[in-house]
């Protein structure tokens, strides 16, 4: 075991952190929020130059092939700064699905520009309620028909990976028959609803397995983002209570405020440990545990961050409101904590895996 961060793990995330401090403070972030597709091109190309957009792919595909912890620490930094550019949706979710499930030719054609920042990818997974996306083959061409409900990153994507009939299909976003209507999400990022009307598509040879891997990676990366957001919300809240004067003293002097701040610190520590465990001992047990733990902690930290800010907590002037919305979006996306808790009960508790260490 090596219980300290390796040099690579520490340095890479520190560099991303520095980049975001310089280019993505709360004021500069407004440029991304104001952009119709939620992208600040300078930020996106800066992330590409740093190698963030290459992180999860093997070196043979032009990626950096970093370990899960390094990736997690980078996502933590993104969460700390409430990054709305689609690193999660494009680089992690859709990028991993393509890297794991695509043909050599598909990977060469689309992953390379994704790594350089010239193209963005998005996964269109869920069908609109009451609809099913259908695949029709004829004249040597595969065509898709359907309506996708909620595709993160799709508003600014150049290529879509569309789930249909237990497979994944690749479709350039400008292809005839595609309609993309952007939706703004609670955290300020962009998603889209998509209509597919006889759209020519190509199947990914290993889409089914790739989808599982990509969704697991997405969930863990989202947990890391939440950990970063929680840490920042906690730190800003502690700053605030040290400054805010009531009854002739800073409100930090009140024990009830101190204990709430302490509980938030404990929740942050726990959430981070849960993510570390899932990154270092990959598997469904640790991922399910991370999802549940980080969701619980995110809820507690977000609510207390707003509460301790008093009236300022419910105004949109300070960052705390944005952190609250971000952490709320985290809780309700990716499958609820309750769903994952029930899965833990069925997959870990029932076969008594919890009798053994999660580490040894």
């Amino acid at each position: 075991m090596q219980l300290e961060l390796s040099e690579e793990q520490a340095l890479f995330s520190a560099e991303v952190q520095r980049f975001l401090e310089r280019n993505y403070d709360f004021e500069r972030r407004r440029a991304s929020l104001a952009a119709p597709d939620g992208i600040n091109p300078a930020v996106w190309s800066g992330l590409a130059e740093l190698g963030v957009l290459a992180l999860p792919y093997p070196e043979t595909m032009g990626g950096l092939g970093t370990d899960a912890l390094t990736l997690g620490l980078v996502m933590e930094a993104c969460g700390r700064h409430l990054l709305i550019e689609p690193v999660l949706a494009s680089t992690i979710t859709a990028g991993i699905a393509l890297a794991e499930g695509g043909s050599e030719e598909q990977i060469a054609r689309w992953l390379a520009p994704a790594i350089t920042g010239e193209a963005r990818l998005a996964l269109a997974l869920e069908d609109m309620v009451g609809t099913t996306t259908r695949v029709h083959a004829g004249n040597g061409v595969v065509r898709l028909n359907g309506r996708k409900a909620f595709a993160p990153g799709a508003a600014a994507a150049h290529v879509l990976l569309v789930a249909a009939q237990d497979d994944l299909y690749l479709v350039p976003a400008d292809r005839a028959g595609i309609g993309i209507s952007p939706i703004r999400l609670l955290d300020g990022s962009q998603a889209a609803e998509i209509t597919l009307d006889d759209v020519a598509a190509e199947r990914l040879p290993h889409g089914t397995e790739a989808l599982r891997t990509a969704l697991d990676a997405t969930l863990l990366a989202a947990c890391w983002e939440a950990v970063g957001a929680m840490a920042a919300a906690h730190a800003q809240t502690m700053d605030y209570v040290r400054q805010r004067q009531q009854f002739g003293k800073p409100i930090a002097a009140f024990q009830v405020v101190q204990h709430t701040g302490a509980e938030m610190a404990v929740a942050c520590e726990e959430a981070r440990a849960a993510c570390m465990l899932a990154a270092l001992v990959p598997g469904s047990r640790t991922l399910l545990a991370a999802r549940v733990k980080v969701a619980r902690a995110a809820e507690a930290v977000a609510k207390n961050a707003v509460q301790l800010h008093g009236g300022m907590g419910v105004s949109d002037e300070l960052a705390v409101a944005s952190y609250f919305r971000k952490l709320t979006a985290f809780q309700v996306q990716y499958g609820s904590a309750e769903t994952h808790l029930a899965r833990y009960a069925a997959e870990v508790l029932a076969p008594r895996h919890h009798h053994s260490s999660a580490v040894l």
């Binding site: 075991m1 090596q2 219980l3 300290e4 961060l5 390796s6 793990q9 370990d67 912890l69 906690h234 502690m238 209570v241 040290r242 930090a252 024990q255 405020v257 101190q258 204990h259 701040g261 302490a262 509980e263 938030m264 610190a265 404990v266 520590e269 726990e270 440990a273 849960a274 570390m276 465990l277 270092l280 001992v281 047990r285 640790t286 399910l288 545990a289 549940v292 733990k293 309750e338 808790l341 029930a342 833990y344 009960a345 870990v348 508790l349 029932a350 008594r352 919890h354 009798h355 053994s356 260490s357 999660a358 580490v359 040894l360």
Partner: protein, 389 residues
């Protein structure tokens, strides 16, 4: 950072498993499983202590020259996890883990030579004389007095909540030696023989019916001045050093996990009697939440304590571990009474079967967020250190 076991660590784990298979008896395992107090009785824990001492494995936190096991933090994690999961008795922590490091760090040569071998061998059994009727969370307001008289201190006062004092032959004790100094600055730490004249130990029966703790009355007890730890009036700093070992130096995730295992054993029993607790999905969801807490807590302990060298102090983050450990322990016992349902309302009588442990264990576990620094004290420390308030 990675959690892969090296060849050396894997070999160590196998050695630990072999040792447990060979030396851990059914009586020890059953004794631990039937324990409803905070610590098992000495007749359960001392034989295990002696087996570990013989192997050189009893003092992981001590330097090797004093009889420490020479383990890395990771090896300590492996040992504690494997021992707990195998059902080994919990080693009473006051001897080796608490007073041992204090004597090593601050004791005289004579004290080291006299006490350390007796602690290692299991011959001595220590109680902690800290709390008093009027000094709990405000420990520094303690009023037990020690006055120099010739070569002795004469000690008068009373200590309370002294765990296992009725089993102990010695007590490390905080006393006031300078009543005029600021309250933290007039305190000294004395090593008191409990068979000395003037010591009176009276039982306090716990909420769960156990005799775990006592009140110790000290009436003109003569304590040789050579039994002073370090310098006179510096006792508060030694106590703080000791408390960090009390709060965060244990590796408890394995213990919490083994308490969850005990609940499965009881569910198996209930099923043989025709019950079906595992079909109660609401209850199983509660179990899952606690099991997740334990998985995460294990990682917190490992990453906090694993990198420490023997004797290295975990610092204030020990308060986070103490807080989480105590809350999860309570949560496990709450699962226990949820499992019993209405039967948990019966007055706990004699412990005949393992399921009889659940109610007293639940009741006694209310103490874990109180002793060793109450929850409120830990939150205060965390607020000051980790939250910067």
């Amino acid at each position: 950072m990675n959690l892969d076991l090296t060849h050396e660590d894997a070999a160590f784990r196998d050695e630990v498993r072999d040792f447990l298979t060979e030396k851990l008896t059914d009586a020890m395992r059953e004794g631990q499983a039937m324990t409803a107090g905070v610590y098992p009785e000495p007749e359960i824990s001392v034989p295990w202590h002696k087996a570990l001492a013989e192997k050189g494995w009893i003092a992981p936190l001590w330097p090797v020259e004093h009889g420490g096991s020479g383990w890395t933090g990771v090896q300590r994690f492996i040992f504690e996890t494997e021992a707990a999961l195998a059902g080994a008795p919990l080693i009473y922590p006051l001897n080796v883990r608490l007073i041992g490091p204090v004597i090593i760090a601050f004791g005289t040569e004579e004290q080291k030579v006299h006490y350390l071998p007796r602690i290692l061998s299991g011959e001595d059994y220590w109680a902690q004389g800290f709390s008093e009727p009027n000094a709990g969370s405000d420990l520094a307001s303690l009023s037990t007095r020690a006055v120099v008289d010739g070569d002795d201190y004469v000690v008068n006062g009373s200590k309370i909540w002294t765990t296992h004092a009725h089993h102990a032959n010695r007590m490390f004790t905080l006393v006031r030696t300078d009543p005029d100094a600021r309250k933290q600055e007039g305190i000294s730490m004395l090593l008191i023989d409990l068979d000395a004249p003037g010591v009176d130990i009276r039982p306090i029966i716990s909420i769960g019916g156990e005799h775990d703790v006592n009140q110790v009355f000290l009436d003109d007890v003569r304590v040789p001045r050579r039994n002073l730890i370090g310098e006179e009036n510096k006792g508060w700093s030694y106590a703080k050093y000791l408390l960090e070992f009390e709060r965060g130096a244990g590796l408890n995730a394995g213990r919490l996990r083994s308490a969850m295992k005990r609940l499965d054993r009881i569910m198996d029993l209930i099923e043989t009697r025709g019950g079906a607790p595992r079909t109660d999905t609401t209850l199983m969801t509660r179990f899952a939440e606690v099991a997740i807490d334990i998985d995460v807590f294990e990682m917190m302990e490992l990453k906090t304590l694993g990198p420490l060298a023997p004797g290295e102090n975990p610092g204030p983050v020990s308060s986070v571990l103490k807080l989480r450990n105590s809350r999860i322990k309570q949560a496990v016992t709450e699962l226990g009474i949820a499992l019993l349902g209405r039967d948990a309302a019966r007055w706990p009588e004699e412990i005949a079967g393992v399921e009889d442990v659940l109610v007293p264990d639940y009741l006694n576990a209310r103490a874990v967020t109180i002793f060793g620094g109450a929850r409120e004290v830990q939150l205060g420390i965390i607020a000051k250190t980790l939250a910067g308030l």
